[in-house]
Symmetry: C2
Subunit: 115 residues, 2 copies
DNA sequence: CGAATATATAATCAAATGCTTATTTGGTTA
DNA sequence: TAACCAAATAAGCATTTGATTATATATTCG
């Protein structure tokens, strides 16, 4: 819901608040490493499917992520054209990789792949 | 209350949440341009003195700002040695200057100066 | 010392947030 | 078309957050 082309305090605060949640920040880090669908997030986080959907909706509403349906699944990825994309890169660059979480899914045969 | 030397998701999310409040983000921007004491913030924001103190306390508890007593007043400034200082710079760099707010104080003779 | 001023803390409360369960929507597939 | 599955939405609830007012603490100054 980013209405302004330039950075302003209100919009920036909103984005920082969104990123200031452990679950969403982890989601963003994961998406910087892999595209992911909702059910994968549900497996990664010990959390209900609606909880995951609600987090993704907030990220989507503020334009930070894209969604794309592929078959049965809806995949989420970082929106590289967001005004705030460079902030996101700055922040997640230093965070520990979350690849291991997705690799656990792969090991359990739970990874969704639509290639 | 930053316990870890390295960036981790929990600590980073906490800092982003702190910055994800319009009042605190504006305070941080102001502090990047001027050192400020509590009563100046009270004049700048239309908000009670305890509300200001509580915001500053959160910023101080997470190590983002320093406080220094000078006479009757306690001045707050950005802690340039914080692990997260460069994040803060990245974010506030693009925000519109808040100098005009402090200049209004000066015009009203409300600016505190201890030089 | 005692009054005045600046700041911090305590207690309280309304609004916002993040989760849950139940249900609905939308696309796929037999 | 009907059953199935992924994801979204609705409703409800506990917790957190950010404000307020009242009070306490610290420092300065007459």
């Amino acid at each position: 819901m980013q209405t302004n082309e330039a950075f302003n305090i209100e919009g920036t605060a909103n984005v920082l608040k969104l990123l200031g949640d452990k679950t969403r920040l982890t989601m963003v880090k994961i998406m910087s490493e892999h595209e992911c669908c909702v059910c994968e997030f549900v497996d990664v986080f010990d959390m209900s499917q609606p909880a995951i959907s609600q987090h993704l909706r907030k990220l989507k509403d503020s334009g930070l992520v894209n969604e794309a349906r592929r078959g049965q699944w809806i995949f989420y990825s970082l929106n590289q054209t967001s005004l705030y994309y460079s902030y996101i890169l700055t922040v997640i660059k230093e965070l520990p990789s979350q690849n291991f979480k997705v690799e656990e899914l792969t090991a359990q045969g739970k990874r969704i792949c639509c290639d």
